[in-house]
Every structure is written in structure tokens, then in C-alpha cells.
Symmetry: C2
Amino acid sequence: MKTQFYGASSLDGFIATPDHDLGWLLQFGEVEGSSYPAFIRDVGALAMGSHTYEWMLKHAIDAGQPWPYAQPAWVFSSRTLRGIPGADVRFARGDVQPVHQAMVRAAAGRNVWVVGGGELVGQFYDAGLLDELIVQVAPVTLGTGAPLLPRRIKQPAALRLQSVATLGGIFAELRYAVQRP
Amino acid sequence: MKTQFYGASSLDGFIATPDHDLGWLLQFGEVEGSSYPAFIRDVGALAMGSHTYEWMLKHAIDAGQPWPYAQPAWVFSSRTLRGIPGADVRFARGDVQPVHQAMVRAAAGRNVWVVGGGELVGQFYDAGLLDELIVQVAPVTLGTGAPLLPRRIKQPAALRLQSVATLGGIFAELRYAVQRP
């Protein structure tokens, strides 16, 4: 069982534009050889921040698409957000540690996926709960936006490169094992 | 003959900390399987910005190390900077286009290397002069600092991934062909 960040980034380290537009990413569509089907099969619980959740409400749910996850999803927010009928969405706030314990129990041996944004990934890192970073680097620079991981992690063995691969000749997928700080 | 950026970046897209410290990078030393010897052999002229040059003055030349390049190097600066005895350093300012023409002539069929910083790389990109980006992604996040390439380049074919490789099991080297804007 691992706690993982898995997601796309621009070459210059942003996961979204300042106005939360994902067009730069979605333009590539589903790439051949995507690692997502194998990845999501092993996920037993998800965590996301309120911006990520609200992006999905607006761009997926309100556009008539189904909630994409069968696994229980925890949404971290200090605000009260609406749920989604038929979706196992649980709201949380504050320290990630006790919520992570509940996620691990729910995952029952499968992995915990911290979907994003970067600040939430950083909170899991700070708490010593992050085991892996799996980043699909898109062939794009954004110049500014929401950062992948707004932390300074520069000890020599903090992130250990496990593998690199190309996905569909478009994305470079980098996998890192995270040493707990 | 190509005009190339070649250099290291943190995973979150920075080439230096805000105080121009490179300790996060230099801690890894010379990695096994470095692509640098083969790269520099094909370089016939270099360009760098004033911050990069002043970093080298302070950390290499003033520390008693020799200037590392046999090729002519153009330093872009609006200020008057000191030269280095025995080094072929030429100062330039303003538009990169005419300087690039002089560099191409000097390179005599070999490549032109835009060493950095990111703003100078961006100026070569803006002028339609950049052919390749070769980035060694270090297993480090900096959170803030000098950006790799402070531009928004998000057209789907603007950057085409040519290859990915690991260097010494530490760096992920990503190579992109750049479509002129």
C-alpha cells in the first residue's frame, strides 16, 4: 500500500493555469500507452483539494458527465461544498494525518491517491505520508499557474528517480520514490 | 547546425534558487553517463545572460578555476562587465537576432548553445531561433526561483518530445524539438 501523487504537469512545473484552465493538457486527448488504467486499478481511496473538486463539479458533473471514481474520495475544504448524488464523496478539513488513516482503512491494502492540487500534496509530504510521485510531463510551458508541489525538497535522497518513460510519444512520465522527511 | 538550450532544471521548473544558489544541483556531482561531453563537442558558440556570467565569475573564475569554454561566448548585458584574460568572451546587448547571426558564423556548422538564464532562452524562442530544448530534470523541487523558460508555449506541436533517458539513475533527460513560433 502506497500513498501516491499521480498527475500531469507542464515542463515548467505547473498543474494548471492561473484561471484553472486545463485546455493545454486536454488537447492531447487520451494518449496511447497511458499508465492510468493500471494505476487506477490499484487505487483504493482518493484525496483532493477544493479547487480540484470544484473544477470537476463544473467541467464534468455540471456538463452531464458521471463522477469518474468508484473509490471513496475525500475532499479537503474549509468551506461547505455540495455533494454529488451517487458518488462516495466525503468532506474533510484540517490535518491530513487522521484523514489519511481513514483513507488507508477504506483502501484495504490498495493505494491512496492524492489527486491534487499541489498544496494538498505538499501537506501529505510534510506529514511524512507521501511514498511516490508519478508525473506526466506535458510538452508545454505555462510560465505561471498552480504549482506541482510548492515545497523545497532538495536533500540528495529525498526523491529517488525510479523510472522514465514516454507515453504516446507526447508525455514523459517520471516516477519518484519519496523519502519521508 | 542547431540552436539549443541544454541545462538542468528542478522537477518544478526552476534553474536556480532566488539567491542564485546551485547547491541543489552541484550536490549530485558528475553523474555517470552524462550527456555533456558529447553535447559540448558539437557546440561552436555560446550565449549567456549577465546573471549566468556573473555566477561563473564569482564561483569559478574568482575561485581560481579556468574559464571552461574553448568556444567564443557572447554575454548579453545592458551593463559593462569585466572580461576574463585568455577567454573569448564577447559582450552584446539588445536584439538577439543579429548576435545569433554572428554566433552561427563563428560556430561554422557546429551548434549554438544558449546556456541561460530562462529569459534569454525565451528571447531566442520569441525570435524563432530555438531548435532544441535538452533538460536534465533533477530529483529536487525548489518551490520558487529562476524559471526554466518564462513563456507560455502550449500549441500542441510547439514542443515535440524526442527522447527521455536517465542519467546515472538521478536525472531524467528530456529532449524536445522546438517548432518555430
